[in-house]
Symmetry: C2
C-alpha cells in the first residue's frame, strides 16, 4: 500500500502543492479498491497506477459526499468540509477527480471507459441518495438501485478493470465486484443499527435520522403491525431518545429484519464466490468470507 | 449550435433523467468553446461530439464555481445553486464532468489528455481564485497565473484539440486559444468596472467587493499616490456607496489603468492573430477583432 500512497502523493503534487497539503488530511480508509486490484492483477507498474487512480476518484467522491451529507466526520476523523469548509472540499474533490481522469487516459480504452462510466453513475447515485432521503422509502428495488450506483458500481468497475489489465475473465470479476459492493453496503447499513457509537467511531443509528431508509428498516417496516409502523414512521428523521434507540434495536432483532438483511448480504457474497471460483484465488475469497462471517 | 445542444441533451439523458431536467435550467452562454471547435475543425460527427463534451465540462466548472463564489446569478439568470441549493449544483456538476470524461475516452489519447489536463488545472484555478481573494493582490504574475488556469487553459486545450482533430498545427492553435482566453478574461474584468448594472445583467463593480483584485485594480494601485492607495485599500471587500463607485470609475479612467488593461488584452489578441495567420481563417480572426474592438 505504501507504493500506492506514494503514487497518489506524486500525482496530487504534480497538480498543486496546496492540494497536497489538504489531501494529507483526508481519512484514507481501508483502500479496499486498491487491494482488490492488486489481488486480481498482481503487483506491477500498471496495477499500482490503476489502484492509485481509483483511490483518488473514490476519495473525490467521498469529499463531495461529505459536503452533500453535511458530514462532520469521516472514519472517526474530522472531514475536510468540517475542517476547511464546503468550498475547499468541493475544489479538492474536483482536483482529485480530474487528475484521476488525466492519468486514466493512459490506459486501454475499455478500462478508461469502465472507470469513467462508473464515476458518471456514482454521481447519479449521490443524487438518488439525496432524493431517497426526502421521505421514507419502502421499496427495496429503489434501495438496491441506489446502493448499486453509490457503492457497488465503482467496485464492479475496479474489479473488471483489474481483470482486463491481466487478461482474466472481466465479466466474472465484474460480477464479483458488484456483489461484493452491494453486500459491503448492506453490512455497513446493518452495522449502523447493531453497533455502538464506540465500535463505529461515529454516532450509531444515524442513517434513519438522516433520512436514509436502509434495507433493515424496509424489512422492519414490513414485519411490524400497523401501530408499530406508525411509531417507526414517527421516528423518521427525528433526533432519537435512548428509549427510541432501544425500541428500534429490539424490534430490529425480534422481527428478524437485521438477520434478513444479513442473509441478503451473505447470499450476494456467495454469488461473488461462485463467479470467481475458477480463479482459485484465496485472497479474493477471504475478502468475502471475512465480510460475511464478521460479528454483527 | 442546435446539433450540439441536442448531443448534450442526449448525453445527459443517458446518465439520468432528473439531471436532464436540471440541466435545462443552466444558463448556457455564448458557447464560445463549441464555436471555436467548429471554426477550427469544421462541422462533422467528431467535432460536434468534442464540442458537446467541452461545453458539458465548462458547464460543470461553472456550476461548481457558482457554489464556491456564492453566486446567485449566472448571465442574468438565477444560478442552479440559488434555485436548488449548493448540493444539487455540486451533484449536477459531477454528473456533467463525469459524463464528459466518459465520452472523451472515445477520442485519440492526445485529445483526451489535453482536455483532462486542462480540467485538472481548471480545478487548481478555482482554488487559486479563492486564495487570491483572501487579501488584496498587487502581483500581476499571480493574476495572470490565475486567469490562465481559471479561463484560458480550457480554451487553449479546446483549440489545440480541434486542431488535432483535423490535422492542423496544434501548437499554433493552442497559442491562439491561450491568448484568446487570457484577453477574454481581462476584458471581462474591465467590463465589471466600465459597464452599468443594466449592461452587465448583474451588479457592476462586484469583483473588488468579492475580493478579486483584477488587472485594472492592480494597475490603478500602481498609479495612485499613497493617500489614494489608502482609500482604495479601505474599499477592498466593502459594500460600495455610490460615491465610492464614482471615485473608482473616475480614477480608473484618469489613471489610465483601464486603458492599460485593455492594451494588454489587445496585444494578447494580436499575438493570437499572428499564431494562426497561416490558416487564413477569417472566422477565427473575427473572434479576436470583435473582442478587442468592442466598446468599453
Amino acid at each position: 500500500m505504501e507504493k500506492i500512497e506514494a503514487l497518489i502523493t506524486s500525482y496530487v503534487k504534480e497538480v498543486d502543492l496546496d492540494a497536497l497539503a489538504l489531501y494529507a488530511q483526508v481519512a484514507t480508509g481501508k483502500r479496499l479498491r486498491a487491494k482488490l486490484i492488486l489481488k486480481i492483477a498482481g503487483e506491477n507498474d500498471r496495477s499500482l497506477k490503476l489502484a492509485a487512480i481509483v483511490e483518488m476518484i473514490h476519495a473525490a467522491s467521498l469529499l463531495h459526499d461529505d459536503v452533500i451529507d453535511d458530514a462532520s466526520t469521516r472514519r472517526g476523523q474530522a472531514s475536510i468540509n468540517a475542517l476547511y469548509g464546503d468550498k475547499t472540499a468541493i475544489m479538492l474533490g474536483d482536483i482529485l477527480y480530474s487528475k484521476g481522469f488525466l492519468e486514466l487516459v493512459d490506459f486501454e480504452q475499455e478500462i478508461a471507459q469502465a472507470i469513467s462510466d462508473a464515476v458518471a453513475q456514482l454521481s447519479v447515485g449521490e443524487m438518488l441518495d439525496v432524493t431517497l432521503s426526502d421521505e421514507i422509502n419502502l421499496d427495496t428495488e429503489r434501495y438496491f438501485e441506489m446502493i448499486y450506483k453509490k457503492t457497488a458500481v465503482l467496485i464492479e468497475a475496479t474489479a473488471k478493470s483489474a481483470a482486463l489489465l491481466c487478461g482474466k475473465d472481466e465479466k466474472a470479476f465484474a460480477t464479483y465486484g458488484k456483489n461484493l459492493g452491494l453486500a459491503f453496503q448492506i453490512i455497513d447499513d446493518v452495522l449502523d443499527i447493531t453497533m455502538s457509537d464506540e465500535q463505529l467511531g461515529k454516532p450509531a443509528l444515524a442513517d434513519f435520522k438522516e433520512g436514509k431508509t436502509t434495507l433493515p428498516y424496509i424489512y422492519l417496516f414490513e414485519a411490524l403491525n400497523s401501530d408499530e409502523q406508525t411509531i417507526l414512521n414517527s421516528l423518521y428523521k427525528k433526533e432519537l431518545t435512548d428509549d427510541d434507540k432501544r425500541w428500534i434495536k429490539t424490534k430490529m432483532q425480534e422481527s428478524g429484519a437485521v438477520m434478513r438483511a444479513i442473509n441478503d448480504a451473505q447470499s450476494l457474497g456467495r454469488e461473488a464466490l461462485i463467479a470467481i471460483k475458477h480463479d482459485q484465488n484465496s485472497d479474493l475469497e477471504r475478502v468475502i468470507t471475512d465480510m460475511i462471517e464478521r460479528e454483527f
